[in-house]
Subunit: 189 residues, 2 copies
């Protein structure tokens, strides 16, 4: 069976719309996400966004899955590689933290916006939790107790926010993350 070209193009545009929404969230916050604004950001008509996402909430939830999905995939791959190659987890975490506030700045900010929004919208919790799980997976390679790993993951979230507020380029953040991990891993040495 051949793939329907129309469906394929539709899905492609759907992705463009989601990317537009994520960029919008990162730049101007969740409140800036309107059908029309997303349409303009994605370079499509407003009707197109209502076609692919019946309601705005659907669009937001989908954008959240998209944004976290990227980071989740990267984290999972990082975890797999670090586990295989026996890399220094503290260094890997430090490097990736820097990536989150530089290259992945938009997606990270979007995730933080939406994680906070999840406090009020139960529908967003599972995806948020999934992202936390992936980060915890990576840290758990270094810290035995998974509960501790979860604590560290949450703490790193706070460090990321501070880095954004201080317009830190990542240097300070990197040191903080590495140091934090060392504090919890000391008993391993």
């Amino acid at each position: 069976m051949v793939i329907d070209g129309r469906l394929a193009r539709g899905q492609a545009r759907r992705q463009e719309i989601l990317r537009g929404a994520i960029t919008l969230i990162a730049h101007q916050g969740v409140s800036a996400v309107t059908h029309r604004a997303v349409a303009e950001a994605a370079g499509v008509s407003a009707a197109s966004t209502t076609y692919h996402f019946e309601t705005l909430d659907d669009l937001l939830i989908a954008a959240f899955y998209e944004a976290t999905g990227q980071l989740r995939a990267e984290l999972a791959e990082l975890t797999e590689r670090a586990s295989r190659e026996g890399a220094d987890v503290t260094e890997v975490c430090g490097d990736y933290a820097v990536t989150m506030v530089t290259d992945r700045r938009e997606a990270t900010l979007a995730c933080m916006e939406l994680a906070l929004a999840a406090v009020r919208r139960p529908g967003l919790v599972p995806a948020t939790a999934a992202l936390f799980e992936r980060l915890t997976d990576l840290i758990a390679l270094y810290v035995d107790d998974r509960r501790d790993a979860a604590t560290i993951a949450a703490a790193i979230q706070g460090l990321l926010l501070m880095a954004f507020l201080e317009r830190d380029d990542g240097v300070r953040l990197r040191a903080s993350v590495v140091d934090l991990l060392h504090r919890y891993g000391m008993h391993n040495h």
Copy 2:
């Protein structure tokens, strides 16, 4: 000179409006803050909110100062007392963290919303930084290095977010905070 009763009553209503805005932010997010919604939450007319706060941004910034102000005052008093009485800072921090997700839930949530908003609105940064400073002050009683104290303060912010997401009643949070502080204070013992 006698105080103008009208001005006094005006300021009182101004406070009511701010309280309404803070409650609104905590319950439904920053986006729910509209002149009319705030007016209804505060039990006043919409015109009254536009009278006391010419623009919505003014209202938001004022609400932020109000919300952080409460917490800042409490933290400052806590720091002063702990310093005077030589109390166990880890216990004080643990207890107050629990307070933040229970009794002070609304104000704390509002602060987190607005701290994140500060990433995009430079006007909100000073107040956010001031709140962080107060928290850092308290922690600095326990951890010598102020840089470390700031890191811990940021980390606690992350733990608070996680507590909200997990609907933690504070038990888990308290343990995490105390443990985190012990990790950084170990060299003191």
